[in-house]
């Protein structure tokens, strides 16, 4: 009885595995400028995520200390990376907000700072 139940469970599990494309949540792997770093004014921000992204729903924005969006609103999503251009940034701390939708529609969000010296 127990062996049959276990076997049935495993058969179902592996059958469903065969018809389901395994994906995962898209988390931030690393960024340029690096998370929490102090850098010379960068001309763009790039994020490398852990999964391929759905361009239509993925966003990245950069804000200054006053809460004003400073990026050029030209975000590009390609594979597992997102990039947005930046104007010449004044010294100060900037907040990055991202929303990543993986190709299987799992959604994650994140924020981090970097500082321009």
């Amino acid at each position: 009885m127990k062996i049959n139940s276990t076997r049935s469970f495993l058969i179902i599990l592996y059958t469903l595995a065969g018809i389901s494309l395994a994906q995962a949540h898209a988390f931030l792997d690393h960024a340029s400028p690096r998370v929490g770093s102090t850098v010379a004014a960068p001309d763009h921000l790039e994020l490398w995520m852990t999964e391929d992204l759905e361009p239509a729903f993925t966003k990245v924005r950069v804000f200054d200390a006053k809460g004003q969006e400073v990026d050029k609103k030209d975000a590009k999503i390609s594979g597992a990376t997102m990039t947005v251009s930046l104007p010449k940034l004044a010294p100060g701390t900037y907040l990055v907000k991202w929303k990543a939708v993986a190709t299987d529609t799992h959604t994650t969000t994140g924020t981090f700072n970097f500082t321009v010296k």
């Binding site: 179902i12 469903l16 389901s20 931030l28 690393h30 799992h106 959604t107």
Partner: protein
């Protein structure tokens, strides 16, 4: 016989959940509140009503009277948005000193949980729920041992909480990866001589993934950057007069976050002699079924809508 009947029903319910889940499409996240991922931990039931599969959780307890090894499996399925049901069972092996070994299943355990209050910007979540331990569904060999209370059905209303430390000022930014989860419950042994008891457990976690991706990238390589060191505690305080003192363990350890699974390893340190004479251990594999089978898991069976997370 009763035991097998309940197990058959439980397996049928599991298959039904698989089948129903297959026909829904939108996914939302496991254990995420704002930027924070709260991992499931071995001793403290996390506050999320989401799809989870723990298989297996192995607990070793070198108690004075008998060495005990428990192997637990549990499966949670989100039924309605923010509401999930869990079924769990434990295979127990007892090795009494000077006596024959005993083994068998514990009572079937069920849990219902609802995410009552969430504030994503503050990485805060509060949930309510209840455990049901169905008396008489365990193996006779176990019921006749020190687990005599397995004859009885137990109800445990619970409050679950999770909170990240993301609001700390810049001067304390390296403490922002900290998070706390806790469960406060009350065991009710209906109509039995067993004392009711307060159950209180919690975890304090330091997430290196959170440090790297939300606070400061200090250049940790994988797999170190995937680790979450933590300390858990798991206490029981009987409430009847002349009851035994609080018993429990403090459990330092570490979680490793993989892409599709999580592995936990903890030491289990008894807080007093009534809790055990020596250090035990915990090992758990948590499978992220919503990532592994995204078409089936990661969304409620009913009232699934596009506005969810």
């Amino acid at each position: 016989m009763i035991c097998f009947q309940f197990r058959k029903i439980a397996i049928a319910a599991l298959m039904a959940a698989f089948a129903l889940g297959f026909y829904t499409t939108k996914l939302h996240a496991h254990g995420l509140e704002g930027d924070r991922f709260f991992p499931p931990t071995p001793l403290t039931d996390d506050p999320f009503a989401v799809d989870e599969l723990s298989l297996p959780e192995v607990q070793y307890n070198p108690a004075a009277a008998s060495k005990e090894t428990d192997i637990t499996a549990s499966f949670s399925k989100e039924i309605f948005p923010k509401f999930a049901l869990t079924i769990s069972d434990t295979y127990i092996n007892l090795n009494p000193k000077g006596g024959p070994a005993q083994d068998g299943f514990s009572n079937l355990g069920f849990n219902a949980k609802y995410q009552l209050w969430e504030i994503p910007d503050h990485e805060f979540i509060l949930s309510v729920g209840s455990d049901f331990n169905l008396g008489g569904t365990g193996s006779k060999s176990i019921q006749n041992s020190q687990y005599a209370y397995n004859y009885y059905t137990t109800y445990t209303p619970n409050i679950y909480v999770g909170k990240g430390f993301n609001e700390l000022p810049d001067s304390l930014k390296f403490f922002r990866p900290l998070a706390f989860t806790g469960v406060f419950g009350y065991d009710v042994y209906g109509g039995t001589p067993v004392s009711n008891a307060v159950e209180w457990s919690g975890s304090l976690q330091y997430s290196l993934p959170y440090l790297q991706s939300h606070v400061e990238d200090i250049g940790l390589p994988h797999p170190i950057s995937d680790l979450i060191p933590l300390v858990e505690f798991d206490m029981t305080t009987p409430t009847s007069r002349n009851a035994e003192p609080t018993t429990g363990t403090i459990d330092p350890g570490v979680l490793w976050e993989g892409k599709y699974c999580q592995v936990s390893l903890e030491a289990s340190i008894p807080i007093n002699s009534q809790s055990g004479p020596a250090v035990g251990g915990l090992f758990q594999v948590q499978i992220f079924i919503d990532d592994l089978f995204p078409k089936i898991f990661g969304h409620p069976i009913f009232f699934n809508n596009d506005n969810q997370k």
